[in-house]
């Protein structure tokens, strides 16, 4: 198949940036989306053009490194990561718009690469259980109901890709934050720090310049791991509870 891509090109954080159009011939439908970009980059390199920078690593949908907005949708038409998207999802002759995540808290580094370090700082603000190495009791000391363990796991599958922020009209990272709050909050080990965790993470979330959640629900629909929207309500419950106990 032959396709045309319109890609956001931006030399560096200070550059203004613009959409640039490139054509690609006989693209195989079995190519992954990123392999299509690889092929394009080989062309660009040989024609003394600057290859397009994009983040990626595992190409298995698990590391969370990849992620671009394709035709206005984070990670593109299928509910999966950009690296797991294949060209068979597009028609022959299609014109495909490729843009970086847009969010105040995710400044563009170059082309399609953005700086997502804000996520790490949100985790630093409480997204963990304090369990000093070597201090742990036997793993069977505290049984955990299967349902809780399973739900915690579902929330814990977040890969930190940032699609929720890119999809949210408010640039809010509430789903990412809620996923961690839910994961740790459902486990007995997570209880002692439950209230300080939600307060700390929300403060950092706002401090990083992520927007406020107005419950639009785009995040969940764009999330490649299907992190459910009720995690956000879970977060709000924890938050109200914490505030009620005078934490802040």
């Amino acid at each position: 198949m032959n396709i045309t891509v319109r890609v956001w090109r931006q030399k560096n954080a200070d550059d203004k940036g613009k959409m640039v159009t490139y054509g690609l011939e006989d693209v195989s439908e079995h190519m992954s989306f990123l392999e299509m970009l690889d092929v394009l980059n080989e062309q660009l390199t040989l024609s003394d053009d600057d290859p397009i920078a994009f983040d990626h690593d595992c190409r298995e949908g698990i590391c969370g490194a990849c992620g671009v907005v394709i035709n206005g949708i984070a990670h593109g038409p299928e509910v999966t990561t950009t690296c797991q998207l294949h060209m068979r999802s597009f028609e022959d002759g299609a014109v495909i718009d490729i843009e970086p995540w847009r969010a105040g808290a995710f400044p563009v580094v170059k082309d399609l690469v953005v700086d997502r370090s804000a996520f790490d700082r949100v985790i630093q603000a409480g997204g963990y259980i304090s369990a000093p190495t070597g201090s742990a009791p036997d793993a069977h000391a505290v049984p955990v109901p299967k349902d809780d363990a399973d739900h915690a796991f579902d929330a814990a599958t977040c890969i930190g890709c940032g699609a929720c922020v890119a999809a949210c009209p408010n640039g809010s990272a509430m789903l990412f934050t809620a996923a961690k709050i839910t994961h740790l909050g459902l486990l007995p080990q997570g209880q002692p720090e439950r209230e300080s965790r939600v307060i700390g993470m929300i403060e950092q979330h706002d401090h990083e310049g992520f927007g406020g959640c107005t419950n639009i629900g785009e995040c969940t629909s764009a999330c490649p791991k299907g992190i459910p929207l009720d995690t956000i309500s879970q977060l709000n419950r924890d938050l109200l509870g914490a505030l009620a106990h005078g934490k802040s």
Partner: protein
């Protein structure tokens, strides 16, 4: 935001109930407005006491709500990381994956609401601006007003705004208060109830002006 919104919503429900008394004729409507309401909890509260409490409460709610709205609006626009006026340059999927139309109208819809309320209160409360002729009977005033097409039109706009605003607002408020237990927005019970409430209110409120304008009720 959520709380102030819900307070106003609460008022609207009562308010609509009141308005529907219109159909029981002038006496009921007027006595409800001129006697019942002002004498709520009388003699525990002075005449009109309850009303004033409500008014203060409402005023507070609107102010808080509008203030919160504007700050949130500002913050979220910055957070969305616009480049040159637009966020994503792609012309495709502008309306996202599952967004409700209502969710787009919250901000400007809210502004419309604000203007509507100001105008409306000015008309209904004292005898200030009274399209179609002033009168001490609020029944009269209502009728006079709603015999004029542009008044009805303005109200229709205002009420559609209310409808849309609550369609998203009601669901949103409950989620903000931690009450959503469904994995997506669309299949949440609250979303359905929200739509229900919005339709009910819009229809309920509109019934009065339409009745007057189209079916000449009350004249």
């Amino acid at each position: 935001m959520a709380v102030s919104g819900l307070v106003m919503l609460g008022y609207l429900l009562v308010h609509m109930y009141g308005n529907l008394k219109f159909f029981q004729g002038r006496e009921t409507f007027d006595s409800y407005l001129h006697d019942t309401l002002p004498h709520m909890f009388y003699p525990y509260l002075p005449e009109g006491g309850m009303l004033w409490i409500i008014r203060v409460l409402l005023l507070a709610a609107v102010v808080v709500h509008a203030y919160a709205a504007v700050t949130l609006w500002r913050r979220n626009r910055a957070a969305a990381g616009y480049v040159g006026g637009t966020r994503y340059h792609s012309k495709h999927n502008r309306t996202g994956i599952q967004r409700s139309y209502a969710s787009f109208t919250m901000r400007w819809g809210g502004v419309v609401l604000l203007l509507f309320i100001i105008g409306h209160v000015a008309q209904m409360m004292p005898n200030w601006l009274s399209p179609g002729g002033a009168s001490d009977s609020k029944y009269e005033r209502t009728v006079n007003g709603f015999e004029i097409w542009w008044v009805v039109l303005l109200y229709t706009i205002g009420l559609l705004a209310v409808g849309f605003h609550l369609w998203h607002g009601f669901w949103s408020a409950l989620t903000t208060l931690g009450q959503n237990y469904s994995p997506t927005r669309r299949d949440s019970t609250w979303t359905r109830i929200a739509i229900g409430i919005s339709v009910l209110l819009t229809a309920g409120f509109l019934s009065v002006p339409f009745a007057i304008f189209f079916f000449g009720a009350g004249s």
